[in-house]
Symmetry: C2
Subunit: 120 residues, 2 copies
DNA sequence: CCTTTTTGTTAGCTTATACTAACCTTTGGG
DNA sequence: CCCAAAGGTTAGTATAAGCTAACAAAAAGG
């Protein structure tokens, strides 16, 4: 099952929220991303079907190995682009916003090389 | 009328083709981008309606001031990201592909500042 | 215990962006 | 001069990703 920009964003959000607050349920995603409950519910269903996460008896979202891998990759990109933009003088809010879009647009290969070049 | 990633790509392609071969018709776009004729036709219609281009009696696509402005902005981003990635060791083909996606994801403000920072 | 709130799902809609199949023009060579 | 090719449009379809309205189930607390 393919993963798209949207799915990457959900996985990243789950990772971030897990680090911040331990267990993460759909409703936490709901509050963190600004999407409606049905959108979250639908996205979580797709990620489950794709093997990126599982839902336990308490409704907690658990990243699988695959899901965690993707989430960490995307989050690393997020941080890199945010740092770069802030270093260039962009204010934090905009830097985050733009990083959040760029992170889905670049290939892993380009990212690795560019990061090595700029921060290596 | 709003302009999306897709529209930006068409405008950029028109600009590039104009520079390379003078007049540009839909069929030239057709060959340059790998989309079907109806997709091109539809996109051109939307760009016309949005005031980004006009079509003359010969079917040539003429960028308006607005259209040219957008096209040049996007093309500048395209060139910047391609250069950066190539400088980081990414091969040209992938650099172009990734640049082509990143160019739509970044805000003008972030782009200006980042370009100034990296290429002074 | 019953009611309200919290949480999640279903059903159905919208929009951006692509596609194919089929059709209509215009144009240009034999 | 006619027929084929080239160029472009129409109609209908698909998919990713969001939305609202309405419902269902579970938890919480007076």
């Amino acid at each position: 099952m393919a993963l798209y920009a949207s799915g990457e964003d959900y996985l990243e959000a789950i990772l971030v929220l897990q680090r911040k607050m331990g267990a993460v349920r759909s409703v936490d995603l709901d509050r963190h991303m600004n999407f409606s409950k049905p959108s979250i519910s639908n996205a979580v269903g797709l990620l489950k079907k794709g093997g990126f996460l599982e839902v336990d008896g308490n409704g907690s979202l658990l990243l699988t190995g695959l899901g965690r891998e993707v989430a960490e990759q995307i989050y690393e990109r997020h941080q890199f682009f945010t740092r770069q933009l802030i270093a260039a003088g962009v204010d934090e809010k905009l830097a985050e916003e733009d990083a959040c879009k760029i992170e889905h647009a670049i290939s892993e290969e380009s990212f690795r090389k560019w990061k090595a070049e700029l921060e290596g």
